[in-house]
Amino acid sequence: MSWPYKDLIAIQDLKADEINTILDMTASFKEISRRDIKKVPALRGKTVVLLFYEPSTRTRLSFELAAKRLSADTTALSASGSSFSKGETIMDAAYNVMAMAPDCIVIRYPYAGIPRKMAELLPCSVINAGDGYHEHPTQALLDMYSMKEHFGRIEGLKVAIVGDIMHSRVARSNVYGLRKLGAQVVLVAPKTLLPPGIETWDVEVSTKLDPVLPEADVVMMLRVQRERLHQQFFSGEREYSFFYGLNRARVEKMKPDAVIMHPGPMNRGVEITHDAADSARSIILDQVENGVAIRMTLLYLSLGGSINVD
């Protein structure tokens, strides 16, 4: 059976069984990265171009390794070293890249909507690696995979997502995916960082972290974007970490088998302290490892691989 989509733009576009297919296929790709020779020929002769118009370490490296382990050729372009900095529009850049016949473009972009537009206009596969605060579908998939790997299920889990929900594409993609798979979601933030219309999201909302901790199976901390400080969404890092930071005392309030997640990069000492980030409950580095595996699955499926669940 073949995968019905050439692109992956948004978790909103996927059905629950399609998300499950992706998660189910990922274990076999994860195994490849643990081999001595970390390479299979699945995408030999395919070209994957990574267009990153926003700084990224983890996501870009993860996609690049995923493509290489499937034997695809990869090239990465970032905003600073490209003609984007010379004023070329993103669609011109995309058409120019397209003229060089890539099979897949992985795009990270500071504003919402461009990956969707590229997917509609370009014949190659387009994978959204994060656009504005719209969606970051591969992050949500790797998060869900990590939860499923740890708990053996997603349905019935209670997942708390804590921090800047308003400006977070990671939170949005996770909400859409987790709800489709039957998890409960609690979003925790000061009211200034909750998006308008959140009452339609089919999630619980709390402005306090402490009452949520004893109930959650997963506590996912979002990065505090320091650049938001001057926009008066909250008064400062000290107050933020007092009310919303995950520290040792708060970790002790968590359920005994609950886990800590973070999409990175972490601001240690702001939204999460060392002892929380490095505690035995943290599966943050598992998320990173699983990121490569999830992206292998998605590149494989988007580039015409068949659905193969064992």
């Binding site: 529009t89 993103i90 669609m91 919402a112 949005r172 308008p196 219309g197 339609t200």
Partner: protein
């Protein structure tokens, strides 16, 4: 010259008759219900057509001087003629800004040379539209402005607005106000709400418009000077204006055809031709605007014609400029509202003829004997598709491209001269 056998609508005299219309020396010489027994000179056969006063659009951006790559007085004038707009007021946000009589004179003189329709400049309220110091409002009035507005750069400082109203009243000029609290809007690009959160686009909350409508109404009440609120888009704004009018505040307002016909749903595909200020709002707001038209809270329909070049609109939704063109979709838009919402055509016609004429204090917008022979002929049954090919503007940024309309301007006369004929 005679226009024979058409259905003649005149909102100023509240008449709707089939008959003949006689024009002498660019003025209306007589209207003959049932037809005149004798005719001389040129005869235009209007059988089966509607004969209307030329439309008056009090909110247009023509980009000339300075941004002629988007539009100029010639192309904008042609677009107006093709849309049946025989008089328009052009906003001051040119480069340089129309904040002094030299720029006003340039616009007036060039428009007289190159534009087939009457173009009346709107002066800036403040120098450079910066909201700090009053512009040369009196001297611009001498040079021919018909109103003042800092449209697009709303006046934040309430004291400046107060002085502007009082100073404008000194010269008998109306003040047109674009209501937007810039701080509440921040970097917003679409209506704020559930959909903006879902699309990941920063929002422009309705309250940012409502608070400024309230302020403007209160300052108008306090000073006793009328104010015209342009492009109202929210349910809240309409409510405030309705209450103010009921209390005798001398406030008038206009709404755009696109806010009457479209909602924020059009943004779902990130189409930058659905990006304008004020943004397309939700369905409850659109309904409130339609009801506002029905019960006469809304005085005018104006296009906010805002041309932008293709390469500018081709950017990301966040970065593309606000605004769409509208001169050629004004009449078909009104026809659509008439047909879909059952609002009387005469009432809608008044919103684009006599009401804006009264607010601007200009002649035109009626078919009385002795009035300017600014007249349009409309085929009310023509079904047609609005395509890029019919656009006379230099810019093609319209969300209505591909839209089917009923009713089309087939001929436009300005002062008795034909300036547009549909081929």
């Amino acid at each position: 010259m005679w226009i024979r056998g058409g259905l003649i609508f005149d909102p100023a005299n509240n008449t709707e008759v089939t008959g003949d219309l006689h024009i002498i020396d660019g003025r209306i010489a007589g209207v003959y219900p049932g037809g005149s027994p004798e005719h001389d000179g040129e005869i235009i056969d209007a059988a089966g057509l509607w004969v209307l006063p030329g439309l008056i659009d009090l909110h247009v951006h023509l980009r000339d001087p300075g941004l002629e790559y988007k539009e100029d007085l010639s192309s904008g004038g042609r677009a107006a003629a093709a849309g049946g707009v025989t008089t328009l007021a052009c906003m001051a946000n040119t480069d340089p800004v129309n904040d002094n009589p030299s720029v006003t004179n340039y616009i007036r003189e060039k428009a007289q040379r190159v534009s087939p329709v009457r173009i009346l400049p709107v002066g800036a309220v403040t120098k450079g539209q910066k909201g700090k110091e009053l512009a040369e409002i009196g001297l611009m009035k001498e040079a021919g402005i018909v109103a003042i507005s800092d449209d697009g750069q709303p006046i934040e400082d309430s004291a400046i607005l107060r002085r502007a109203l009082e100073y404008a009243a000194t010269f008998g000029l109306p003040v047109i106000s674009h209501c937007q609290d810039k701080n509440l809007c921040a970097s917003g690009v679409m209506n704020e709400g559930t959909l903006s959160s879902r699309l990941g686009l920063p929002g422009l909350p309705a309250v940012s418009e409502d608070v400024m409508v309230s302020r403007d109404v209160l300052i108008s009440l306090y000073t006793g000077v009328p104010i015209h609120i342009t492009h109202v888009s929210t349910q809240g704004g309409i409510e405030i204006i309705k209450q103010a009018k009921a209390q005798g505040v001398r406030v008038t307002c206009d709404v755009t055809p696109h806010h009457l016909l479209l909602t924020e749903e059009r943004v779902r595909s990130y189409d930058t031709n659905a990006k304008m200020y004020p943004p397309l709002r939700g369905e409850p707001d659109r309904r409130a605007l339609i009801e506002g038209l029905r019960d006469s809270v809304i005085d005018c329909i104006a296009t906010d014609h805002a041309p932008h070049a293709r390469d500018e609109k081709d950017l990301d939704f966040d970065l593309a400029p606000f605004g769409i063109i509208g001169l050629q979709t004004l009449l078909p838009g009104i026809m659509k509202i008439h047909l879909e919402q059952g609002i009387g055509f005469m009432k809608l016609l008044a919103c684009v003829t006599m009401n804006p004429a009264r607010i601007l204090g200009i002649d035109g917008g009626d078919l009385s004997v002795g009035s300017r022979a600014d007249i349009i002929l409309v085929d009310p049954r023509a079904r047609w598709c609005f395509t890029e090919e019919v656009i006379e503007s230099k810019s093609k940024n319209s969300p209505f491209i591909g839209e089917e309309f009923t009713g089309r301007v087939v001929r436009t006369l300005v002062a008795g001269e034909t300036v547009f004929t549909l081929r």
